[in-house]
Symmetry: C2
Subunit: 168 residues, 2 copies
């Protein structure tokens, strides 16, 4: 396989994966591009490589920076801004987990907590079923939260290696 084909395939696959996870395709593609770039890239180079507009490039690079997986760097002697991706995939994974937890899981936990405080006849089967479901989800969510926090806190690979030893 030629390098250029492999590169295109990788960018495409990463874009697809991103799309399925609610990250927009272009954002994931820019990330892919930067992941395999040996040097920092400018906005212009990104636009050119992916054939996207300036606005689109700007917006998605900024979002990648918000997620903490891309950084602006200054190249001495250049006026332009350049960008690099965090290359340690473990760190990328924890950054994404942290961000999604904050944006998605935490608000749901908050709502669930509220929903425990309903009033009404505790014998009504609708109310009983509701309370039971909410409580089960809450339990599950807290466990997930704990596991996720452990993952996020771990800066090294010990999480998985320990885990794998235990579950085999």
């Amino acid at each position: 396989m030629k390098f250029s084909d492999a590169k295109a395939q990788f960018i495409q696959a990463w874009g697809l994966l991103g799309a399925q996870w609610g990250i927009n395709r272009t954002m994931a593609q820019i990330h892919a591009l930067l992941l395999i770039a040996p040097e920092p890239m400018s906005a212009e180079e990104i636009m050119e490589a992916l054939d996207i507009s300036r606005g689109n490039a700007n917006m998605n690079v900024r979002e990648l920076m918000n997620w903490g997986i891309v950084e602006k760097v200054l190249v001495p002697g250049e006026r332009k801004e350049f960008f690099v991706a965090e290359k340690d995939i473990w760190k990328v994974g924890t950054a994404i987990a942290r961000e999604r937890k904050k944006r998605e899981l935490d608000p749901v936990l908050k709502v669930l907590l509220q929903l425990n405080k309903i009033d009404g006849d505790q014998k009504d089967k609708h109310i009983k079923a509701f309370r039971e479901t909410i409580q089960n989800i809450q339990k599950f969510a807290h466990q997930t939260d704990a596991a996720l926090n452990a993952f996020i806190k771990s800066e090294e690979n010990w999480f998985y290696s320990t885990l794998l030893k235990v579950i085999r």
Copy 2:
């Protein structure tokens, strides 16, 4: 808080969470509705409760059945079909993990495997950076895959309880 408000809030929160995870909003809302229903519900009741069309209800209920988290049941004496959701949240979680892994992670692993076989000058910094990235992602993906498989296989709660003991 009134029961009807709590119910509406729960359905809305679950729908939002689903949407962020690439599951369509209506599908997640139907799931929420069935999760808290004390009895099986008919298509009609679902349409009414969520104010959606027959086609929409039909399509999303079917998809939930594909995911293995909703089942058709026959109520004696009734001509209509009724639906129930799996109430064990742990099982719901593993079913979702299984399905997403199959649909999303597995194809990416397959592509990555291909991408190792690129030819070209091994000293070229672009090619070196590319190979390194692919290999790192592959390693990470395999670890994730292993963890996910363990989660999916576990029918009981031992996964989390063991995990939590270990990571503390």
